[in-house]
């Protein structure tokens, strides 16, 4: 046991020294670098479109369902064989079909399933498309104009997605 305590004592000193380097200096320098102009426009994420929250009112596009309790993030963790949750999904589908005036089989998967973060900024082009008529009607904008805004908010390298947060802000500005 003597050897253990001797090593632990050396370990405490090594830990303290490394804490100064790894726990203080390293994050501080990375924080400093994050302020270098041109590297990241927005390390503070103020006004970010990386995350989406529900905007009140039918003149906005609706993001995916969320299980997050803001300000924290999170998902449902519900499994496929969870029958209670299967009912929830079916209710969501019915509700969205009613809201957008489309058949239930036109409601895409991403519209009825909760995202992992609960803050997913994206919806599928299909989900955006079925929301266009409602948004145009309530906001008073022409359908073509709304479609243009959807196209402008479409992004992604491997998977094509529509950024709801950016889209709703574009609607504000339109």
């Amino acid at each position: 046991m003597d050897n253990f305590f001797k090593q632990a004592w050396a370990g405490l000193r090594v830990l303290l020294a490394l804490t100064v380097i790894l726990g203080v200096a390293y994050p501080a320098v990375v924080w400093g670098v994050s302020r270098v102009p041109g590297l990241h426009a927005n390390a503070e994420a103020s006004g970010t479109s990386l995350v989406a929250v529900v905007r009140e009112g039918d003149e906005y596009f609706v993001p995916r369902p969320s299980a997050a309790t803001l300000p924290a993030s999170g998902g449902t963790n519900k499994s496929e064989i969870n029958e209670d949750y299967t009912k929830v999904i079916a209710e969501r589908r019915t509700e969205i079909a009613r809201r957008e005036g489309v058949a239930e089989d036109q409601v895409p998967q991403d519209a009825v399933t909760a995202s992992a973060s609960g803050l997913d900024p994206h919806i599928s082009p299909a989900y955006a498309e079925i929301q266009v008529p409602r948004v145009a009607r309530v906001s008073g904008l022409p359908v073509e104009k709304v479609r243009e805004l959807v196209a402008a908010a479409t992004e992604g390298t491997f998977t094509t997605t529509v950024n709801v947060t950016a889209l709703n802000r574009a609607l504000d500005a339109a």
Binding site: F4, S73, S79, D110, T159, N168
Partner: protein, 545 residues
């Protein structure tokens, strides 16, 4: 681009990036660690200052037992330090009225981060301030990975040294691994991640269209979270959170980071033993199992009933499955989608990845020493078949060596099955589950598999804040980490003490397809024989429903 093609392109980019990094990083790591005692070793000024402060003679080498006491002593003070700063969080800066962390949670979290598990029973946005994240968790993200590296290097020295009782100096291996490998890479990739959009804020949150979303100094911890195969999210949704993983490119960078060190260590191993082929064959086995499991998980998810539940749209199914397979195949445990919402087969695949014992390719250091231990088991089995004393890399595998290897392999299933077994019959567990039936059992199994293998991912629906879960999972993490480490160091000590056995016509070559098949089969069979009964009642039953 169809989803299949898009997924294959991403897999291709990832594999290409790993191939480019393989030799330079593997060779660099081989240069960082001294192989023979007689080799000259230069220390930097910072390193010398640390050794002076800790009163360590960096040129003195240690026996295996002293090396092991170093690992245990360092980890012990790490746990105590992490526990204490959580318990006094309310007086630390950047705590944002999140208060002190409760006893059970602080105990569990302290063990979790020191053992490189990074299991999280807490919601970071509600429980931890930036100070504990930085001076506590970030530091352990580095050093717990460096401990794994050190143990792996000590085992390699056991093979390459002859008739000595010296395995190196733990403190030197720890400090060099941290400052010469992990820190420079983490720094560079933290900046890469920032450039890709990862946040770095000292504020507690940010206003988004009238609602507050928590923020943190994410980038600095994100880089080492992946690079050190740690996996503890700075925010609750981990790498699914857009602040931690904003787009498809940051996602690929993060998957690359969590694979690169375990993969390149096979090169380091080959270099240090003087036969790069010995490393390639290990990589071949790891890569084959990783690829097969990716195919299973990806196909299962693509054919699920609701494949997007618990996944982020920007990652779709393919990049979610790629992350899930890599994070469970490396003991990382970061997630960019919730495995709990996966199909029976897909979620079962992530579970099986952990049950292989985290060696496909495994964690930083831990993956390499785990597969070397499995290689010893494989050679032992081969020796039984032909009736010869088995050898590996010029060392005889006698009773001591095989016993140490067996103890190392059996520690994980023992604590896992005892813990999960008790949890399954406790009446209180029913209330902790998030899903019914077979999937509920999978949630329990997954929790204990994750803790015992030091992975840290979860079937996250299960509520693990009761005293039973906090303490039993904490103990699984401790035993799952340190029993194998002690056994591996004892093994290294006994190997180093031996003479070199000359290669004869009767020696089974360990660079060819025969050995690769033997090793791969051992990995799969040991897991299958141990866990099929438990898996049959959980994920297998669910997949057949």
């Amino acid at each position: 681009m169809s989803p299949l093609v898009a997924g294959l392109v991403q897999v291709g980019i990832l594999v290409a990036a790993l191939a480019v990094a393989y030799r330079p990083l593997g060779d660099h790591m081989a240069r960082v660690f001294r192989v023979q005692e007689t080799e000259d070793q230069k220390h930097s000024k910072v390193e010398l200052a640390i050794y002076r402060f800790a009163r360590i003679d960096p040129n003195a080498e240690q026996k295996w037992s002293t090396y092991a006491f170093g690992v245990l002593g360092f980890s012990f003070v790490g746990i105590v330090f992490l526990y204490v700063i959580q318990r006094i969080q309310s007086v630390l800066p950047f705590a944002f009225d999140r208060g002190t962390v409760s006893e059970g949670m602080a105990f569990n979290t302290a063990i979790s981060f020191v053992t490189n598990t990074n299991w999280q029973s807490y919601v970071p946005e509600a429980v931890l301030g930036h100070t504990v994240q930085m001076i506590g968790l970030t530091v352990q993200n580095f050093v717990s990975a460096a401990v794994g590296l050190a143990v792996a290097v000590a085992l390699i020295r056991g093979f390459v040294r002859h008739q000595t009782d010296r395995l190196g100096n733990f403190w030197v291996d720890l400090v060099r691994g941290t400052l010469r490998i992990l820190l420079p890479m983490a720094f560079v990739f933290a900046i890469v991640l920032i450039a890709l959009g990862v946040t770095m804020s000292l504020k507690s949150g940010v206003d988004v269209d009238g609602q507050t979303v928590a923020n943190a100094p994410v980038a600095s911890q994100e880089a080492i979270k992946e690079l050190g195969t740690n996996g503890g999210g700075v925010l609750n949704a981990n790498s699914a959170h857009p602040f931690e993983n904003p787009n498809e490119w940051s996602n690929l960078v993060e998957i690359f980071l969590l694979l690169v060190v375990p993969v390149a260590l096979t090169r380091t191993f080959g270099r240090m033993v003087g036969q790069p082929k010995q490393g390639y064959v290990l990589l071949g086995v790891m890569g084959t199992i990783w690829s097969a499991m990716l195919a299973v998980i990806w196909a299962a998810e693509a054919n699920g009933i609701r494949p997007l539940e618990g996944k982020e749209l920007r990652f779709d199914v393919a990049a979610s499955a790629l992350f899930a397979n890599s994070t469970t195949g490396t003991s990382t445990g970061a997630v960019n989608s919730w495995h709990d919402s996966y199909t029976g087969l897909g979620g079962g695949g992530t579970l099986l990845n952990m049950l292989f014992g985290e060696m496909t390719p495994g964690g930083v250091g831990t993956g390499l020493y785990s597969i070397l231990v499995m290689a010893i088991i494989a050679m032992f089995l081969a020796g039984l078949m032909v009736g010869r004393t088995p050898e590996y890399l010029g060392k005889k595998l006698g009773r001591r060596e095989v016993t140490a290897a067996a103890v190392s392999i059996l520690a994980m299933p023992t604590v896992l099955l005892i813990g999960a077994g008790i949890a399954a019959v406790l009446p209180s567990t029913q209330g902790a589950l998030n899903n019914p039936g077979e999937h509920g059992l999978s949630e329990i199994l997954y929790a204990y598999a994750s803790a015992s293998n030091n992975n840290g991912s979860a079937f996250g629906g299960i509520t693990v804040t009761s005293d039973w879960f906090q303490s039993s999972l904490g103990l699984c993490m401790l035993f799952g980490r340190f029993v194998p480490i002690i056994a591996v160091l004892a093994l290294a000590g006994s190997l180093a003490a031996q003479k070199k056995v000359p290669v004869t016509s009767g020696t089974l070559p360990t660079t060819g397809p025969l050995f690769a098949t033997l090793l791969g089969a051992s990995v799969v069979l040991v897991a299958a024989l141990t866990f099929v009964p438990a898996l049959a009642l959980g994920p297998i039953a669910e997949a057949l429903l």
